[in-house]
Symmetry: C2
Subunit: 369 residues, 2 copies
Amino acid sequence: MTRVMNFAAGPAALPQSVLEAARDELLDFQGTGKSILETSHRSPEYDAVHEGAQQLVKKLLGVGDDYHVLFMGGGASAQFVLVPLNLLGDGERGEYVVTGSWAKKAYKEAVTVAKTSGGSAHVAATTEQDGRFTRIPEPQSWDVAEDAAYVHITSNNTISGTQFALYKGIPECAAPLVADMSSDILSYEFDAKKLSLIYAGAQKNLGPAGVTLVVIRQDMLDRARADLPTAFNYQLQAKGKSLANTPPCYAIYMLGKVLGWIEEQGGVGAVQKVNEAKGALIYGALDELSDFYRAPVAKDSRSLMNVVFRLPSEALEKRFIADATERGMIGIKGHRSVGGIRVSTYNAVPLAWVEAVVSFMREFAKANG
Amino acid sequence: MTRVMNFAAGPAALPQSVLEAARDELLDFQGTGKSILETSHRSPEYDAVHEGAQQLVKKLLGVGDDYHVLFMGGGASAQFVLVPLNLLGDGERGEYVVTGSWAKKAYKEAVTVAKTSGGSAHVAATTEQDGRFTRIPEPQSWDVAEDAAYVHITSNNTISGTQFALYKGIPECAAPLVADMSSDILSYEFDAKKLSLIYAGAQKNLGPAGVTLVVIRQDMLDRARADLPTAFNYQLQAKGKSLANTPPCYAIYMLGKVLGWIEEQGGVGAVQKVNEAKGALIYGALDELSDFYRAPVAKDSRSLMNVVFRLPSEALEKRFIADATERGMIGIKGHRSVGGIRVSTYNAVPLAWVEAVVSFMREFAKANG
């Protein structure tokens, strides 16, 4: 079998060694004579998987036992609702930094929730211009109420290809910081202890689709609403260690394996170095070949996870995608809402694939420029 | 490898051929050079999996295009909330037939939801006695308001081992019938067209944990609230074909494979025959050996999916479980809330395993009776 170079935005490439390990034990999990897919969530062997993954999340994020690690269903989209449902009380205000389509969706869902909770959702900053987002706003420019319940940011914007460089420092906020880190969690080192709540759909940097990671600090949890139904209640989910009802076991198992792989690479710092090298390579090529390729994102807002660019015409973009596919590079079509090209370079995308795509970019520009 | 006989209540045994097929293509899904675990939910190859599974659900349930098939996250527990959230409007009443712990939980969550929606949840019938449930109540005895928004039943009660015999006929109700069929969906033929909404966590009869099937009829969907956030909104989920955001792709893929396996067996009718044979075998033994084993469930309410029974003492139950484990039979410990023994005999549990457990039951009774 020839493995394709998968640059999809998510569900995205997983480490090959993780897939091989999953395959090898698919019918017989650790000699138990059954698959992990058919293993009870109340069994000691599943417990070890579940708790192991929770511990590894804390270790890799560098947070202590004042943080709770939840595994939930419904994707990050469900968290767009659960964050305000749990944390936006009567008369309280949630601040939203709108830096992309998903951030905007999070804000809109909060507005819907606020209608019944008596709270309100407010745009603290937006970088939308003519329906596009090409930069991250400076925290100094945010319009944040002093007593805001939280400030919500989207650390990486998958569609527009912009990223908060949290590794350069966390925005200073009086209010608790909530971050949707679906597309860049554990891709670089940062001070997670400054965040009160992190959530992330797994299908980009953490594993397959089907589980959403929620990491919440005790003081934030204490402020969450206590009277919500169990499935939507952060306090009860934390109390039940995400085992109040059957969790998405297999997705959690795979997430644990991916976290183990990050450790094998030398930890988040080592992974970050590779991500920076990949970014330098591809953005370097884009800058060098700027007569042909156009990178719309402001330089200081460029994402190391999703590299978006345009070609001189849509016809050339179409040919670029077709030619790339022929060379075994897939998933590079830009999101249907913005068009163009998007090369996603999550943790599991090796440097060699990025070298291949950059070499193809040079070749294509030469032939068509 | 020796495959254990897995009688767990869920996550439960899956057909071996399904697991083998999943293993064989884990690294290379249909020659695409990547795993289904890393395949975009916007790709044609995933589309075929997703839509194929939706079509197969309809075919096996025998319903037409006036039904929508949704794949959601969060387990059946999330549906405990979403059913009243979507369907219990201001001043409306949801009727709950409380036949077990999960049915009671569904009712309680509806009470919580109703507090803010202006609706109400009402116990139409309960068979709880001293904290136990041992029978299904006759529909004639239900106290249902004529203009109820819906009547909610739990078709099979995993913990107490009772089951509505829907194959003998659907309860006649003026109000729309909503059924939590998590633990017996597609285990027998019944007239699904008489139900307005069916939901089921996959991890018993449909696949691994991580996806919840929701099947909703158009007229019920038309009555659902339109102003809920996307992730919790039946109308928007149906409109987006459960692809408004990333669904739990791998669990859906496995669910599709399990449905394909049901077809291979000859369809739901053929599977039902095997389930009836398994039930006859194990309940026959319990009745025959009633000096030793005690089957607490009323005969006309016995579940073909979860067979619960007691031994003369807890010490003997402990030894029974240990001896069974030695013989490669696992997952037979009763739910911690009720104790005793529970043998779950879902579709994927072959007749041969039930023969083995029955043979062991005879042997154990003889040695310890």
